[in-house]
Symmetry: C2
């Protein structure tokens, strides 16, 4: 119930098995939620006995961690231009969100499962926390920058605001069956959260 397995060095049969397990997990996740997948199934899929499974992984969640490891890089991939940019750059934000949405479409069950299991599984909790704080830090910095430059109005502490935006994204993508359909609306809403200003004077424009 912790990090990877107890395997030693050496590239061979064992590695193929390890791959087979991961492969099986991916395949199963394509058609049912993580919670419904048992170690028996993972072992069967890799054509080994259940006990052999434990030679490769500590538990089901270790498999999840390994799977996650493979995609963590992509989670932030398209966000660079937006996070390093300035002002309400809808295009950059849209690209960042589209990347995320696509990932969520393809790996939704994995990500949902990981999020659901995070409380109660330290390694997953760390993964989630690291991911979140990486995003929040950069976004908070961006917000601060824009406020100093007079591009964004004052409001919640940058860190808090960034946290709320992260929460919103995660919740929205996680809930939806068609994440890509949300992108445009998320763009609008995130920009409003950061740059939106309003007063009681609101007779149109």
């Amino acid at each position: 119930m912790s990090i990877p397995p107890g395997r030693r060095r050496g590239p061979s049969k064992g590695d193929r098995r390890e791959q087979a397990i991961l492969e099986t997990a991916r395949a199963l996740l394509a058609r049912k939620p993580l919670a419904d997948i048992t170690i028996d199934e993972l072992a069967a899929g890799a054509e080994i006995s259940r006990s052999s499974f434990y030679f490769y992984f500590d538990s089901k969640l270790s498999v999840v961690v390994a799977l996650l490891h493979g995609i963590t890089g992509e989670l932030g991939r398209d966000a660079g231009p937006w996070l390093d940019g300035t002002g309400p750059d809808a295009d950059a934000l849209r690209k960042a969100l589209t990347g995320l949405a696509v990932l969520w479409r393809d790996q939704g069950r994995l990500l949902a499962g990981a999020l659901a299991a995070a409380p109660g599984c330290p390694p997953l909790a760390r993964w989630r926390e690291d991911l979140r704080s990486a995003h929040v830090n950069r976004l908070a910095a961006r917000i601060e920058r824009d406020r100093v430059a007079g591009l964004a109005p004052d409001g919640p502490a940058p860190r808090v605001l960034a946290g709320l935006i992260d929460d919103l994204r995660t919740a929205a993508l996680n809930g939806s069956t068609d994440p890509e359909a949300l992108v445009d609306d998320l763009v609008t809403v995130e920009l409003r959260m950061i740059y939106g200003d309003f007063s009681d004077h609101h007779p149109a424009e």
Copy 2:
């Protein structure tokens, strides 16, 4: 693993036991998450055997449903003025959110547990869905109204926007250890999501 129990009519000893189980559940939830609570503990707390527990409830989640039933009313309590009002009424919104935050402070573990268990438990899924759509419907109507009145700018379809706001609330409150501290920031952010307008012209005010 479905709806309520199989109990018959009659007010007496059994009712006290049923109460005792609910009481125990409340007490346990005050100090650990739902997932860590076993039926053994619930039974022990009510001073009955594990098998007797099943006379009163189908499963742990049925207890949750019963507990939820007790607080569902309060979930929307303070939202009336905000949802039935007009325009960016920060005070009304703050009152609505404060009510929610307080509830979340007191019942956080129960609500978090319910949300976590919802996928995979029809009755809980329904509870969540009903709650959500109740809120989304009213909020969407409000948004529509304000747009027609020229009080709110155009943007995502009212239903979608309302959904995003609901997601945000839930995620933010659910994640936080001190929900009340978030209220003011949520007020700002929700108002921006609905009323916030921005253009590329942003030299301060």
